[in-house]
Amino acid sequence: MSEIEKIHVIWLPGQACTGCTVSLLNASHPSVLDLLTGFIPQAAGVTLDYHSTIMLQWGDEALEAVNAAEKGDLEPFVLVLEGAIPDESIAEKSGGYWCVIGEDEKGNPITFNERLDRLAKNAAAIVCAGTCASFGGIPHGKPNPTGAKGAIDYFGRNWKSKLGIPIVNVPGCPSHGEHLAEVLAYAVLAVRGYLPLPELDEEHRPKFIFGHTAHENCPRAGLFADGKNSHEFGEPYCMGLLGCKGPISHCDVPKRGFIEGVGGCPSIGSPCIGCTEPDFPDTPLSPFLAKAPWPFFVYEKIHSIPGSLEAVWGRIKETLTGREI
């Protein structure tokens, strides 16, 4: 057994909408209660020490755990970020702020960024819940009035926690609840040494979740391969001609559904808008009802030729040679 009995979680909202929090409550296997009560002994002992939306305390008392974590008195803790990180230097020019969380002993405001800087030094790992914390999301949409960015841009892509763990992004707007729950459980198991660090793609997304595109994961992909396209909303075919960005978005929601298997964007007839991607909500993901750039489809079609030929030829060959299974 690992010697680490307790793992604390500090959930810090920046320029957030609380959607990833609500989405975490959508998770069933594991659920947020599973996480907090320990669904397997190796994942037990997780305490949610700060989460302003659901915690009992308020004001200064609510911040006790955050203040302790900043001083290094809450060990070890996983820092979960929700929301983008603004550029406070822009607001400072007129003597103001973009985002404040609490006050110091003298009653002066403490910005989200100040807290983030202090917490990052002591965190065992940083997990970014959602596209805003990962890449800036809508707050960083052009022309990005508050200078918002995601953690990998704020701290730098080479940043590592004091345990040597890079920032882990769980994008999605909001992130899928079970993606978050799985990654948090994974982080707990990794901090305790039960699992290796998850393999990440170049955008710091765990490959075991974000390894395929929404298009590859789409139940309507077979209809697309069959040349069946929807031309009006409501039709049951491929949504590509109505704006689906599935081929350029990394997501398993079409296959997995959104809540306990229910939902899934293109799979029920609405175009994917690419909400897991670094460029969201700008081009090429918006306008959301505009078609994805055609070169992706040309590339995909050309790319599929050898496989399509193999699928046909393999069967012909079998018939010609009369080979038994």
Partner: protein, 572 residues
Amino acid sequence: MTQQEITVEPMSRIEGHLGIQAVADTEKKTYVEAHSFGTMFRGWEVILKNREPADAIWITQRTCGVCPTPHGIAAAMAVDMAYQAPPPEMGILLRNFLLGAEQLYDAALGCFILEGPDYSQSVVERSNPKWWEAAQNEKAPHSDIHGYSTIADIMTGLNPISGGLWVRSLGVEKLARKMAALIGAKHPHVNTLVPGGVALTLTPTVLEQYAAMLSQQVAFAKEFIPLFDDLLDFVLSMGYDDAGLRKTNLLSYGAYDDPSAYTAKYEDLSDWGLKRRVSPGIVIKGEMITQDLVEINVGVREFVDRSYYDDWAGSYINEDPMGNPIDEKHPWNKETLPAPGAYKAWDSKYSWGSSPRWVDWKKRVDGFPHTLEAGPVARMWVTAKAKNVPESTGSSLKYILPKATIVGYRVADEMEFEWKIPEKINTVERVRARAHYYAFSAYVVYGQLLQALDLFKHGKARVWNKYSKPSKGFGVGLIEAMRGALAHWVVMRNKRIANYQIMTPSTWNAGPRISDIDLGPYEDAIIGTPLTESDEITGVDVVRTIRSFDPCLACCIQVYKGDEKILHIPEV
């Protein structure tokens, strides 16, 4: 010294970043001053500017992950109007089902997760030991229905994480969001709303699954509402009448459109507003003065005297299509010019929130601007008074929820509900209205589900109408979010967004004062609230009062207009 100042920052168990400063008079045992300040800003509007108008349907939902769907619907309605793209009847009903699913989840979230813990054993035993003592001996009047023997048992059930009610409500809320995902692809941030209807492949499976999940909500309502009535009546009996008390100045835009009335035309706005299942209306000093959505829209103003924004000049629209004057302080003409300023500068600007007011421009009362309160209590009040719907008696809303036999639920038979217009609008009645609105939402959506089955039977299953987008136009989307009246305004030029404005219920409720005699609703509600804590002042009475409004700050503070000045744009 008899005055003690407290600051609650961060305000927890709400959506977003809010701070409250309050001053208690410890001798008179009451709060005498308060300031409400929003402490986070993102800048939605400059991001929306120059984008495709339809993109607002997706982008504006992301102002708030707790209440995204009404944003999506308000945006869809505003864009329907700008594009002249009315949806087919089934499309309108499916939008209502999305709204209903969200209101079920959000009402339960508010009562059990956000506000409920303020009345839980963990808080009450520490802050109000006398209440706790009384609660242990107070039998819950409806214990035969909900199964909780004493008020103390209910309070223990509301303890976060360990409480049975708290945990159970999480499951019910998830199920309601699953209903939203069934029609909306996901929740938060539903993906199927499009101009002219919804983007959903509708099959009988969808309606059947929705109905099955709705049954479970109906079954839950029959325990939830009597349980909250018991708890809240007890709190009132402890002398909590004056907590959060405000005069009865209310705003409701109404919700749940009649599929045969909604045309997306501004000229028909008054008509389809009156045919909504939840009624629109403005109440001033306890009198309903109008139910006309055109009159209501024209009277809206937004002020930034105490907010971190510069004032604006200029306008997009001088009059609406019916010739009514559109003021330069009306959101269609608003420019948001942020100017980040000092923290807690009470004498000047101190909040990222702004101060909406409604001007009685037809001089029905006095012709002045009024501070209105939005929320479930406002729309229930208006709907109960107006008699626009059969359930409205003029003093109450009376209706019957159907049978629902669900394993693990105590009441299978149909049950009658009645929400009566309260004498006072206070902390307790805001929470009670939220609980009752859960049941009323389930009732309304149940009725409309039967309508949808009938449409399906008659082959009217189209979910979307094709449209051809004009190059210019404008629109307004008025609806009830969980927290109250929500409006979106769009001005379209050259097929792009020239101006987009959002005014949320929390913009109305959380806003700072305009002057020292014209306070925001939160501030007004705290002043006069009794101080019930005996020793240490944690501010429990303040947080209870603020949470009774169910604040949603990310929603409330979303707008920004960059340095670029808009040159004069010709009128519509």
